[in-house]
């Protein structure tokens, strides 16, 4: 297929929106991002093959045939993306069950430093630390600290 501008712009938009959503905290939005990125990647693979008539020997001459290999690969990739989507949905649901939200959490190290900051022991952290809005996270931090120590 000759590179078609519309096609390329669509792939670009899918990738851009996908990456933006992937950077969100909510797992549901991350899931949307993964789906968009997956579709972008699939279209990108399709772009690699030649377009043309159905690749059936006897009905189409060799020169007019489309390249069927990218289509086969996309089929595989779609199945994999489907499985991943289902798994991420289950993960988001389980997270909602356990925490009441589906946001991706800070890692252990971040939480430990935040904890130190609250006790004014962190390196170079003073009272400028914006702790008032973290009251809802404190329970989770305490639970985690109990598990990790």
């Amino acid at each position: 297929m000759t590179p078609n501008l519309t096609y390329i712009v669509v792939i670009g938009v899918l990738f851009a929106t996908g990456v933006t959503l992937l950077l969100e905290r909510s797992l549901t939005r991350v899931l949307m991002g993964v789906i968009l990125l997956g579709n972008g990647a699939n279209l990108l693979i399709l772009l690699g093959g030649r377009a043309g008539e159905p690749p059936i020997v006897g009905t189409t001459s060799n020169e007019e045939m489309s390249d069927s290999l990218p289509q086969a690969m996309i089929l595989t990739a779609i199945v994999i993306t489907l499985g991943m989507t289902a798994f991420l949905l289950a993960l988001a649901y389980r997270s909602w069950q356990l925490f009441g939200h589906d946001e991706v959490q800070d890692d252990v190290e971040d939480r430990r430093i935040m904890e130190l900051a609250e006790r004014d022991e962190g390196p170079g952290i003073s009272e400028t630390d914006d702790s008032p809005d973290e009251t809802s996270d404190e329970d989770a931090v305490a639970v985690e600290a109990g598990g990790a120590r």
Partner: protein, 519 residues
Amino acid sequence: MTFLVPLPVVLPLLGAALTLLLVRRPHLQRVVTVTVLVATLAVSAALLAQTAANGPMAVQVGGWIAPLGIVLVADQLSALLLVVSSAVTLCVLVYSIGQGMADGHEETPLSIYHPTYLVLTAGVTNAFLAGDLFNLYVGFEILLVASYVLITLNSNETRIRAGTTYVVVSLLSSLVFLAAIGLVYAATGALNLAHLASRIETLPEGLRLVLQGMLLLAFGIKAAVFPLSAWLPDSYPTAPAPVTAVFAGLLTKIGVYAIIRTETLLFPGGRSADLLLIAALLTMVVGILGAVAQSDIKRLLSFTLVSHIGYMLFGLGLTTSLGLSAAIFYVVHHITIQTTLFLAAGLVERRGGSTSLDRLGGLARLSPLLGVLFFVPALNLAGIPPFSGFLGKLGLVQAGVAEGGMLAWALVAGGLVTSLLTLYAITRVWNLAFWRKPHPEMPGPDATTTDDDDDESTGEERPGTLLPRMMVGSTAALVLFGVALTVLAGPLFEISTSAAENLLERTPYVRAVFPGGAP
């Protein structure tokens, strides 16, 4: 003998189907899984012997001649890694069975554990044997999907939290890989690795660099190379001990394997050598500095895992036969040792009730056997002579000195500092967890009588803190395997040297896939 090549993939997949049918018969499940893994190990050993004698072997799946069909290729590198990985998976499985039986309830391991574990094994072997990029992607996906399930097993709060990071990061790397495959196919019209080996060379320099960069990015995330490694220490330690052990041993090494394979076969000539060397240096140093700061054994081990990935990239980045063979030796050594250490950490958790260094103490007196099981692989990891860790690092240092450039010398220095800091981190664990007086909060018979000498015998009566024989046995088997790597280092280095020469020469691989010459 080419019929052997697909077996390491087919056997675990069939076993997974069978164990899924046997969900209600846990005993039979165990028998099937162990049998399948023993068979996989035997086949892998036969493959290693075959490839050492006759060079790489390829099988055209479904009878379609390459490059039309899917090709599975076993060369010395993949056969060697197959042997090590199946030996390690077998030991870890026995360990997890022991854990489940000792805990006495049917849920651990869950009935889904065995099928998932076998699927993971199939993904690993498929990635090692894949002869084209898309099959490599499928292998990665198989093992990743299985690992998603294993890391969120029991799905409690910490596992969901850590699992989310792991899944999202892995998905991102898979998508980068998929996009890279799309671009490679668009540029060359081929995906077969042997076919690509000749076709990529005809591409313009800039395009080749883009393809190489995207593949390196995708594999770098999986291998936890420094700027892309932050996900690993956060997600691995929360999983159950056997799961962490098998992840630590195998999953990152498959990323390393993919980097070695693509860099040597598709992009020869070392155009990205400097990039690899700088990444290697940063991975080693930053990783080990992270390990030094940790107060939890599992997190500490995860950081050493990241750090030592740097050694393998170091060997690869030198682009000499000596460096590559030392890197391959190091991969083999590190798979074994890192898994052993995580299994030992699992035993520490059972015996001491925690893996936090603030809460442990006196384990060497409580259980001298556990002390030995931890101490030997720990010294091995730090590179104390005469263990294989020392031999691997020695090989890398020799290769670096032989190369002799500024960057190579920096890497040699970085490698030695990392080795020293590993020793420091490991010694800290040893001093705090094994040598000082037991912590008052530690479960066990000596919680009240810290100075009592005969706590070994009373410890046996408590089912919760008992060290089950199967778990200790499988860990001991892996420790012995690690020591065997030292004893057999001569023949092993011979295999890795000839594997490295074949990789750099490239023609044996291509000729195995296309006996009549590349199209």
